[in-house]
Symmetry: C2
Subunit: 144 residues, 2 copies
Amino acid sequence: MNNEAITQIRAFDRFYTRIFHLADKYHLKTNLTLLEARILLEIGEHHRDTASLLIQELTVDKGYLSRVLKRLVEQDLLRQTPDETDKRAKRLSLTPTGQEQLALLNQRADDQVATLFAGLSAVETQQLLAAMQYVEDHVHLPQD
Amino acid sequence: MNNEAITQIRAFDRFYTRIFHLADKYHLKTNLTLLEARILLEIGEHHRDTASLLIQELTVDKGYLSRVLKRLVEQDLLRQTPDETDKRAKRLSLTPTGQEQLALLNQRADDQVATLFAGLSAVETQQLLAAMQYVEDHVHLPQD
DNA sequence: GGCGATAGTTGCCTTTGTCAACTACAGAAG
DNA sequence: CTTCTGTAGTTGACAAAGGCAACTATCGCC
């Protein structure tokens, strides 16, 4: 890969970093931090229902995570129920309030995306998705 | 924009967030934080040579930035010279040591990118760049 | 010359994140 | 069944990151 290409990719990275910086605000107007929002998302949508799974997925310190989870429980967004088959673990699940919050977060995030890509025609949207897919397919992810 | 599209874009965002989380480590093995690295980059390559410009570009608190800049000066990576035409401002520039550090950072970041997109043919690389460009061109950036 | 705005600094505080030690349990090996 | 190593999660102590407001000095303008 030549230098010109690398420079352009790094420019894209900077660009998309900027987008994120804007788009990562979907948790505002809720009283959740970004991490808390991502936790609700992982539990509620991707069914990662133990702390260990979250640690892997979000690459966060387990001590820190433990505290954040506690906070979510205190806010009645999250339940921790004992795992019957593995008594070390706790199963995480959203409370009804937690599910409401998650729905709200999703709504906000969707709105953000819709705003960022507003005004695209159907064809343009399809091409955009294809372009993203191309990028995704051609990144060589290191094995953790 | 339909829901299906939004879902896919959000998936891309999560994906690229993950990439960044890996790629943002280029400052490691130096004794710089990510913010310090980005500051050197902005000053050294994009000629943003006042604190105000950095505040805008990096969306960082001015009090915090002030301290970080001080730290960089203490490490002899940065110089602050009085601006003759505006005596409130200070012109920022890299010291020779700072330029060396920046070169090192660039090297690391380039390596990261090269690794992430390793093994692409010339044609694939061109298509990748085109795909990135397409994404970039079709985001509707809000006016700050 | 006076006044609101801007550049940057400093003190104070909260949030976020790291690290190591610790408890409790699991699973395998003898 | 005991012992040993590994994993799940918690807690305490601490460090780093960042936000907020007050302050000084200077600017540009009426």
